[in-house]
Amino acid sequence: MSGTENKLKWVIQSKSSYFDFNFNELFSYYNLLFRLVRKEFLINYQQTLLGPLWILFQPILTTFTYVFIFNKVIGVGVGSKMPPVLFYFSGIVLWNFFSESFLATSKVFHNNFHLFSKVYFPRLIVPLALTITQFFRFLIQLVLLILILAYFILFKDFNITFTWYMLMLPFVVFTTGMISLSIGLFFSIITAKYRDLTNFVDISLRLLMFGTPIIYPLSLVKENIRWIVELNPLSSLFELFRLGLLGEGTVSPYQLLYSLVFMILSFFMAIILFNKQGAKLIDVL
């Protein structure tokens, strides 16, 4: 007995420490990760009329609606000389990335309970796959955004000059994705336990959209209530996204630091919670 005891490699126990995150195991499933991403694309655009073109139609239609309603009808300004189409489109594209991957992630347990109760693999693979899927959709939409931008530069006398902020764009996208993944993981646990909270998720996501500078620039918010918008860690990211891409935005280094710290903290907390509660949830669901 004592001879073999040393050779037995893995142990299943009741308690899992908060920090025994097994990165090697997660990595060994990277093939599954990419297959799941592929699956999302294949399933979503099979038996559809326009197929993957929907990825582009959705933000285009939304942009036209926003331009019409907010800019033309209500008259929300977008900044000094920025074309409203570019302003709204850029905001919508980034917001889509955030909200879609957040929504998908927050329903991971609910939607995959059957799979999770039948086979073990690192659960984190599924939310990661969902976020990466949304990232690819975002990239496709970004290409369209750049094409529109090129059109405005070539034919409409819209100028952008190279700034260092442009190099910050990957950081913006990464941080936005990580925040949506982290909050999504957090809510995936909560909504699996309490189903009525899915309503809360939907509503608060809609409210959060108005608390994020998507349909208005931060510079238009009155000084005395600006802190409400600045409390939102996404605000500085959206402003930086426009600043890098279109040359207009209001960003302070403290704001960025706040978003970064928020991202790191929420990510670690979410991973720990997800790891710890993941196995327990199968009993409850």
Binding site: L8, S28, L36, V119, Y194, K280, D283
Partner: protein
């Protein structure tokens, strides 16, 4: 001596019936407020028709310990609710034990269902990959096995068709093909054999046997289909209400399990209103009467058994013969003892047949009675009217493995020495 590849030490799993939440935050907060802060009784389980569930605990598993050695085919049997599935889920890392630990070596794959990781909208080809990866195969393994999987499932033509267009048989075949080509060190299989047609089941079975016996992998099979366990496993564990009831050599454990799960019927009587039968025959009574030769009154292989039966014959001037059929619990007929044909008129008919001791092997049996008319035309067949167990009895025997054979007669031998040298042998 093979080495342990899996050690399960005192594993328990507790489910708190009252705590498995109401599913809504408002109710849970309300519940917590009333029970923890106001110290009131549980408000949700106080109605009269529901018992007080809040403190009710259910030990799905209670101090389960066992070891599995390299190359073992290990069967886990038990009735529904015995904790088999819970144990399986713990071994598969899907849920965690409440206490205890499991140590193991090597890659472990568990198959709780056929078709896990399949997406109906995807093609067969996509599904082979995604399901394989879900079970932890790597790319090289899948590529190497791909053709074999396709061949095993027989779906070459439909490889690029979404599996939702497959017939259910094709779907199951493909799903099983993926699982069958996993190459873990320890394979855990739930009752997946219960799907598909007979031919398919046979193939699954052959594959499982190949995995466990030729390739020498360790297999854990969880089932209440005891024949599968008997055919495939060399060791077995019997779980009953979360506790290990018996463990050891397969046939013995399975036999005990079956005996306990069977309701012994040694005697059945009927009144004319509910008597089984038809327009010709109505049974009144069947009974198995053992002539105990030993004092502890247990039915064992030495015990002579008398089968007595009474039935009403409803037709005059008929010739009737009786067939007494003994079956083992697996449904194999051990023997079919036919009586002569005899003339009877209306009325009650009684009969008996004595099965001598030292004839049947130990095990569980049931009896069916066939009443046949003229020219051996069956008049009525009374199926499984008696069931019983025969215990083993070997007073002067050191060897205690399972005795082979369906019957265990005690025919006399004549053995004697005829020469006292080896001259003929050396020539």
């Amino acid at each position: 001596m093979a080495e342990n590849v899996l050690e399960v030490n005192n594993v328990s799993k507790l489910y708190r019936l009252g705590e498995i939440g109401s599913g809504s935050l408002r109710q849970d907060i309300n519940y917590w407020w009333k029970t923890s802060i106001l110290k009131k009784d549980d408000p949700y389980f106080l109605t009269e028709d529901t018992p007080h569930l809040s403190n009710q605990k259910l030990w799905a598993l209670n101090n389960v310990s066992f070891e599995v050695k390299q190359g073992d085919a290990f069967g886990i049997i038990g009735s529904n609710g015995s904790g088999k599935s819970t144990l399986l889920k713990i071994l598969s890392k899907i849920v965690k034990p409440t206490t205890g630990s499991i140590k193991g070596i090597g890659k472990i794959s568990s198959i709780l269902e056929v078709g896990t990781g399949f997406y109906t909208d995807l093609t067969g080809r996509e599904n082979i990959f995604i399901s394989g990866y879900t079970f932890g195969m790597n790319k090289r393994e899948i590529l190497r096995k791909f053709d074999e999987i396709v061949e095993f499932s027989g779906i070459e033509k439909f490889l690029d068709t979404p599996v939702k267009r497959y017939s259910s048989g094709m779907y199951v075949r493909l799903a099983f093909a993926v699982i069958a080509h996993l190459e873990p060190d320890i394979l855990i299989v739930d009752e997946v054999l219960a799907v598909g047609d007979a031919d398919f089941q046979k193939r699954c079975f052959a594959k499982m046997k190949e995995v466990s016996q030729q390739e020498g992998r360790t297999v854990l099979l969880v089932s209440h289909y005891t024949q599968a366990v008997l055919n495939l496993c060399n060791k077995a564990l019997w779980l009953n209400q979360g506790v290990v009831k018996d463990m050891g050599e397969c046939a013995g454990v399975v036999g005990k399990y079956i005996a306990s799960s069977q309701q012994f019927k040694l005697k059945q009587c009927w009144s004319p209103e509910n008597a089984p039968g038809n327009d010709f025959i109505r049974f009144k009574e069947v009974a198995l009467i053992p002539q105990f030769v030993n004092e502890d009154h247990s039915l064992n292989i030495r015990t002579p058994l008398t089968v007595k039966f009474k039935f009403w014959n409803l037709t005059d001037d008929s010739y009737i013969s009786i067939g007494l059929q003994f079956f083992s619990y697996t449904g194999e007929c051990i023997f079919d003892n036919q009586s002569f044909s005899k003339h009877f008129d209306k009325g009650l008919i009684e009969g008996e047949c004595v099965i001598p001791g030292n004839f049947l092997n130990d095990g569980s049996y049931y009896i069916s009675l066939l009443v046949a008319g003229d020219n051996s035309i069956p008049l009525f067949y009374l199926e499984e009217c008696i069931s019983f167990d025969l215990e083993d009895y070997r007073p002067e025997m050191k060897w205690c493995g399972k005795w082979m054979g369906a019957v265990r007669p005690h025919f006399p031998f004549r053995i004697e020495q005829t020469t006292f040298n080896l001259e003929l042998y050396h020539k």
